[in-house]
């Protein structure tokens, strides 16, 4: 596998929307690995101020606004930054990962794909990777994206399916 593109960025709290990266491959490959990582998935600490802010955003929602402090804290501990990854090749959908792994691989080949991805005999043309950001809990949430492709002998790594 050869690294073809690597990028990253910083997300701010409350962002909702897409960030897309388009890569024009130089030639056809028989395998591709897209690795996506992000941090700060959960609140590390929950301050009084954060609780107050959430409480305010629940105003007018009968199912939340009468929640006890404990219920609210529990709910906040369960909250997460949520990012989906969607991949198209030449404008055709070839995979989407909903599972909220902070490190995820989207591996495509003819005989192996990661969960959520569709096997491809050849990887060629224009690859578009979209980060669909549903929720960002904290300012300064870092993410990295790497796209690698190759024609080498296939072997699945033990940590989640990347080609090595």
């Amino acid at each position: 596998m050869v690294l073809i593109y690597e990028t990253g960025g910083i997300l701010n709290e409350g962002f909702v929307g897409q960030i897309s990266y388009t890569v024009c491959l130089d030639k056809a490959y028989d395998a591709m690995d897209i690795e996506f990582t992000f941090d700060k998935q959960h609140y590390q600490t929950i301050t009084e101020e954060m609780g107050k802010k959430i409480r305010e955003s629940c105003s007018g929602m009968p199912e939340y606004e009468h929640a006890s402090e404990e219920e609210l804290m529990d709910a906040m501990r369960g909250m997460k930054t949520e990012i989906h990854t969607i991949v198209t090749m030449n404008d055709t959908f070839i995979g989407g990962v909903h599972k909220q792994l902070t490190t995820r691989h989207m591996v495509f080949s003819d005989d192996f794909t990661s969960d959520g991805c569709i096997p491809q005999e050849r990887i060629f043309g224009v690859i578009k990777v979209t980060l669909a950001v549903f929720n960002v809990l904290l300012d300064g949430t870092n993410y990295r994206l790497k796209l690698s492709a190759g024609n080498q002998e296939k072997k699945i790594s033990p940590d989640g399916g990347a080609y090595v």
Binding site: V16, G17, G95, H98, Q100, G116, C117, I118
Partner: protein, 313 residues
């Protein structure tokens, strides 16, 4: 025959814990006639399920779909032949996506519309503004794991309100299955079909003609007799396992129309014929009827089944 369908299921292709193969096995063990694969924002499980079913020569039918998981609500899509992009969904006009999906032959529904959403689970509640209620096909009135009063009851009431106004929406339900969950006494969707029939076609016919049943077990059949001007209601058992009912439980029929709700107790024979003039004192104002079956009383906890709406001729 009636076919029991489980219409909302996830696999390891998104965030479920059952592989496509395990999902098939689980549905077979639970005696479902058919099931849908509705992973979040991917159709990667479709070919796997197809391949496995061909290999196994299984008699269980599969329906290919997806749960469009958007920032503002979940859209359950069945008979989906190809992935259509959702990211440009318009909060104020979801009909654009509904239309595009329907144009490709898919059946489009709103999943768990009153689920808890922002700020704790963005997208789980359906927050989009729908102005054209003819633009989609069904509402998931029971998402079994969701709380009854806070989530499912409002969904059922919303569907009732819309169909009483004349919108051609079907009711469906599902397990929103993410693992090997207990399906006993939970609601399932039933449709009419024939042995070996094309499940996609049967589902399409059922949903497009508002001929879906939602039930924990028995089916509430209704037959309008234009000669006698009566409707005959009959309770039919199904093979769905786990329905909790004892012989001492009385079956109650509720018929809801625009102006009132009529409640009657079923006799032991489980058949009940009701003259239309009992339901509509004024012949000229016949509206849609929603038949529902309860046990003992009409509290939502005791709701057994929702039957297709009746539109007396």
């Amino acid at each position: 025959m009636y076919k029991r369908l489980e219409l909302h299921n996830h696999t390891t292709e998104s965030d479920g814990t059952l592989t496509p193969s395990q999902l098939i096995q689980f549905m077979e063990e639970n005696l479902a006639d058919g099931f849908a694969i509705t992973d979040h924002n991917t159709i990667s499980g479709h070919s796997k399920i197809k391949g496995l079913l061909e290999q196994k020569k299984s008699s269980i039918s599969s329906i290919y779909g997806m749960e469009y998981t958007t920032y503002y609500g979940h859209i359950l899509c069945l008979n989906l032949k190809e992935y259509l992009s959702w990211e440009s969904i318009d909060y104020h006009r979801p009909e654009r996506l509904f239309h595009n999906l329907k144009e490709k032959g898919a059946l489009v529904g709103v999943a768990h519309p009153f689920s808890y959403g922002h700020p704790f689970a963005r997208g789980c509640r359906f927050d989009m503004t729908i102005t054209d209620f003819n633009s989609f096909d069904f509402i998931e009135v029971f998402n079994n794991p969701e709380p009854l009063h806070q989530v499912n009851e409002p969904a059922l009431l919303w569907w009732e309100e819309l169909v009483l106004k004349g919108f051609p929406l079907s009711a469906t339900c599902g397990m929103d299955l993410h693992g090997r969950w207990d399906m006993n006494n939970q609601y399932a969707t039933f449709i009419e079909g024939v042995n070996g029939g094309n499940i996609e076609k049967e589902l399409e016919d059922a949903i497009r003609h508002q001929k879906t049943w939602v039930s924990r077990g028995p089916i509430l059949e209704s037959k309008y007799d234009p000669q006698k001007q009566t409707i005959l209601f009959t309770i039919c058992e199904t093979k769905k396992p786990g329905f909790i009912h004892s012989d001492s439980d009385r079956y109650i029929l509720s018929l809801c129309c625009m102006t009132e709700t009529v409640v009657k107790e079923f006799p032991d024979c489980r058949s009940l014929e009701i003259p239309l003039n009992e339901l509509y004192p004024d012949y000229n104002t016949r509206s849609v009827l929603i038949p529902k079956l309860y046990q003992n009383n009409t509290a939502i906890e005791n709701l057994v089944a929702v039957a297709p709406v009746i539109i007396p001729g």
